[in-house]
């Protein structure tokens, strides 16, 4: 039981909101939903479309083909007609074939802004799918707190005017409805669950919605949210807060992260905990701002001058985003290191239904200074983790330093100390490897002799394709340090390894090979679009 609907129109037609309203409605009926949003980098004009896939089973990818096409203009119809399944339905205005409803007229007669055609379209769709008016009304009251009555009036008229009978009935499912989250919302909430206190970010697509979400809900969530003058200020402000004892996070895309790199190295030298969310989009440079690419793995894994331990985590959907941002904050504080969470547009700006595992993520903890004796911020601890005290402690003078330093944090150029401090910092890497090169950090499902190996957002379609083909599915959640042992264990008995990722040069392929894991086929896509389910299946089947 599955239903795929495409909503298309001009930027400014409220396509994304329409898709989201539809997705939430279905989620409340017990469906598992995935929303893919495709939009150009502009405010008005251009073509936007949103695909909402609903299923009884969890989904985190979209199909190319749809059963219903909702066209808010003729361009949407022309562009997407090919996607329509046989027996599919077209819903729009002034159509030659399909169901036409005079949304424009209704909106005009109600003297409402033109964007409210999206509410009218939603009502028509609900009618065609046999959703009772009372239920739709309840959703709209909940989800449209602004201009509610006007929206309802328009919806009601459109609902009444939609004829053509019931296209399909969508039964209310007996399973528990799951909440809906954009990937970026899940990233934000994961960090909050672990104890986040400060988020600092300069706007950049596709990371901006973390900033918007935390700015709007910061009071409720106990998170101070700041939009500073640039990304350089963002990360340094976060590092200042971290020094003073506040768990902090920054978020950006590749270009903004490039500006943060000098401070990333500072975090490495000064051993300051920090979480950096990098939501990838196609580069190089400005690239394609509102589309997706897994092109920054090498960059984040090696960014920063000098050598220092770091962790790179890569979620592939909302639940992983929640878990991994919580873990990121935990690891950053436990080991006093920078932790990077590598998302992309496809994870960050898609909508998922999921039950966030609130009780399964770690709460931040750190090795606190127990007092007694003189405080040394960089005490040469056997495990490399020096106890933390914070400024304001009457017993401790807390000195952090971007220069190489002695245990007190005073600048040094002595060769023995330089070597000792570098060894101290890298002792933490051995601990990190012990923790992260483990089965929990490599998702593996199925027993097949062919394995489909992916990372990040390619998880969505790959997981389903592997299941459909009877293959093994393997996905590392951590990419630095690379979980070599855990991956080899997950691939035990596999005869053929196929890797799929959305970039040109195969960043995961390179890593697997460097760690002695043979790759038989690589399937790469670099047109800014994610793999649809059919596309990925078509490319790997028969390999």
């Amino acid at each position: 039981m599955e239903l795929n609907v495409l909503f298309g129109g001009r930027a400014g037609d409220g396509i994304r909101q329409l898709g989201q309203l539809w997705a939430r409605l279905l989620a409340r009926r017990g469906y598992r939903v995935f929303l893919y949003d495709d939009y150009p980098s502009l405010i008005r004009g251009g073509h936007n479309f949103t695909v909402v896939r609903a299923s009884e089973l969890p989904v985190s990818s979209h199909r190319e083909r749809v059963e219903i096409l909702v066209a808010l203009n003729s361009e949407a119809l022309e562009r997407h007609r090919w996607r329509l399944e046989k027996e599919g339905l077209i819903l729009g205005e002034d159509l030659e074939a399909g169901v036409s409803v005079p949304w424009k007229e209704i909106v005009k007669e109600e003297r409402a802004p033109a964007i409210m055609r999206n509410t009218a379209a939603l009502a028509s769709l609900a009618r065609l799918l046999d959703i009772p008016w009372e239920e739709l009304e309840g959703h709209l009251r909940r989800d449209l707190p602004k201009e509610t009555e006007l929206n309802l009036k328009i919806a009601h008229r459109s609902y009444q005017k939609t004829s053509g009978g019931v296209f399909r009935s969508l039964p209310v499912l007996s399973q528990e409805p799951w909440p809906t989250f954009f990937g970026n919302e899940a990233l934000a909430l994961g960090a909050v669950a672990a104890g986040l206190k400060l988020y600092v970010a300069y706007p950049m697509t596709p990371a901006s919605s973390i900033l918007h979400y935390l700015a709007l809900h910061g009071e409720t969530l106990g998170v101070t949210t700041i939009h500073p003058e640039n990304e350089i200020a963002a990360i340094l402000c976060a590092l200042g807060a971290s020094y003073a004892g506040w768990p902090s996070m920054v978020g950006t895309s590749g270009g903004g992260f490039a500006l943060m790199v000098e401070a990333l190295s500072l975090a490495g030298q000064a051993e300051l905990p920090i979480v950096i969310i990098e939501c990838q989009r196609p580069g190089p440079s400005t690239g394609v701002p509102t589309y997706t690419m897994q092109g920054d793995l090498d960059f984040v894994a090696s960014a920063g001058h000098g050598e220092f331990p770091r962790v790179v985590l890569a979620p592939g959907e909302a639940e992983e985003a929640f878990r991994l941002s919580a873990w990121a904050l935990y690891l950053a504080w436990k080991f006093q290191i920078p932790v990077l969470v590598l998302s992309d547009k496809q994870v960050s700006e898609s909508l998922f239904t999921t039950k966030l595992p609130l009780d399964e993520v770690p709460r931040l903890e750190f090795k606190a200074w127990a007092g007694g004796g003189e405080y040394q911020r960089y005490a040469l601890a056997p495990d490399g983790i020096s106890p933390l005290a914070f400024p304001g402690d009457p017993q401790a003078v807390v000195k952090v330093n971007s220069y190489e330093h002695d245990p007190y944090g005073i600048t040094t150029e002595e060769p023995e100390l330089i070597a000792q401090m570098q060894e101290k910092r890298f002792r933490k890497l051995s601990l990190l490897k012990d923790l992260l090169d483990a089965p929990a950090w490599v998702k593996a499902e199925g027993e097949g002799e062919t394995a489909l190996v992916v990372w990040g957002s390619t998880r969505g379609p790959a997981w389903e394709v592997a299941r459909a083909l009877g293959w093994r599915y393997v996905q590392p959640l951590v990419l630095e340090p690379f979980p070599e042992r855990a991956l080899k264990a997950a691939l035990e008995g596999v005869k053929k390894v196929i890797v799929a990722e959305t970039n040109f040069t195969g960043a995961l392929v390179r890593r697997l090979k460097a760690h002695g894991i043979q790759v038989d086929h690589q399937v790469l896509k670099y047109d800014g679009r994610p793999f649809s389910l059919e596309e990925l299946e078509g490319k790997v089947r028969g390999l």
């Binding site: 409340r28 409805p177 909440p179 809906t180 989250f181 909430l189 909050v192 669950a193 206190k197 400060l198 600092v200 809900h217 910061g218 009071e219 409720t220 969530l221 106990g222 998170v223 101070t224 949210t225 700041i226 500073p228 003058e229 640039n230 350089i232 200020a233 963002a234 340094l236 402000c237 976060a238 590092l239 200042g240 807060a241 020094y243 003073a244 004892g245 506040w246 902090s248 401070a263 500072l266 000064a270 966030l356 609130l358 003189e374 400024p391 304001g392 402690d393 009457p394 003078v397 807390v398 000195k399 952090v400 330093n401 971007s402 220069y403 330093h405 007190y408 944090g409 005073i410 600048t411």
Partner: protein, 283 residues
């Protein structure tokens, strides 16, 4: 032991400024201030932040909380400390290359936001640690190693810039008058809001300006009203950081009260009810 037995405000670090360096005057002034805080038992609530350059070594020399940051980034670090712990008093030390070159955007925004912290700029109009290049406040024609024919640029006037950017405390001190400078720093630390102090600091090795400043610096007249913006601007424009000046005023040019950024933006930490939040927003 971090602190010296005979001088507990100082660390064991060897001072590596050149003999005659203007930074010694700054250190004398700072230690005078620190002594006062120590006597009040408040020293642990003070945090120093420095950039990179000769000035920045100052944090290694005093046994006080410090964040030895990177070039140009003193202010965002100080800002973050203040957001996390508003009860701390944060004193930033930056060089003129730091504050007026590499990190100029942060300076303007710190003033615009009225961040509740103090910035002392060790302004020697030359890059000392990188051995003698021109800076944003070097006079036109300054012959540095990157401008052998003389600087083609006119210097910026930091006081004018800070007044235009909305700073609520704008002052100028001189490393050659540490006692007076200490009063400025102390006043800056007690000022609620962004306190900016440009400190004229001769570089004995690369740009020795002692004689030039000694002959010209003069404290603002007692009748100057620091709440009068236009008067402050007039005094700030008396000297354009060129080599042609009859008189260089020192003191607090401007001081007014404005709402604090931290009061407008900071959210008090709390244990959020995520389950309730998700039910309300996402279900």
């Amino acid at each position: 032991m971090l602190a010296r037995a005979k001088d507990p405000l100082s660390t064991y670090a060897e001072i590596t400024w050149c003999p005659g360096c203007g930074n010694f005057g700054l250190l004398t002034a700072l230690k005078k201030v620190l002594k006062g805080w120590q006597e009040e038992g408040a020293l642990s609530r003070l945090v120093l932040v420095s950039g990179i350059g000769c000035h920045a070594k100052i944090v290694d020399y005093v046994a006080v909380n410090s964040f030895y940051a990177i070039h140009g980034r003193v202010l965002p670090v100080a800002w973050g400390i203040k957001m996390a712990r508003p009860e701390l008093t944060v004193l930033g030390h930056a060089g003129d290359g730091d504050a007026y070159g590499e990190g100029l955007a942060h300076l303007i925004f710190a003033a615009k936001r009225n961040l509740n912290l103090t910035l002392v700029v060790h302004n020697n109009s030359v890059y000392g640690l990188t051995t003698g290049q021109f800076t944003p406040t070097s006079p036109k024609g300054f012959k540095g190693r990157s401008t052998p024919k003389g600087s083609p640029e006119t210097p910026i006037n930091p006081l004018e810039l800070m007044l235009a950017s909305g700073a609520t405390f704008v002052a100028r001190g001189y490393a050659g008058r540490p006692a007076h400078l200490a009063t400025l720093i102390e006043a800056g630390l007690r000022h609620p809001g962004f306190a900016f102090i440009d400190v004229l600091q001769p570089c004995y090795t690369f740009f020795n300006t002692y004689d030039f400043f000694n002959a010209r610096v003069k404290e603002l007249p007692p009748g100057h009203d620091p709440t009068d913006f236009e008067a402050a601007l007039r005094w700030a424009l008396k000297w354009d950081y060129s080599q042609e000046a009859q008189e260089i005023p020192l003191g607090i040019f401007y001081q007014v009260s404005k709402p604090l950024y931290e009061d407008l933006v900071r959210v008090s930490p709390k244990e959020p009810d995520l389950e309730e939040h998700i039910k309300r927003l996402h279900s």
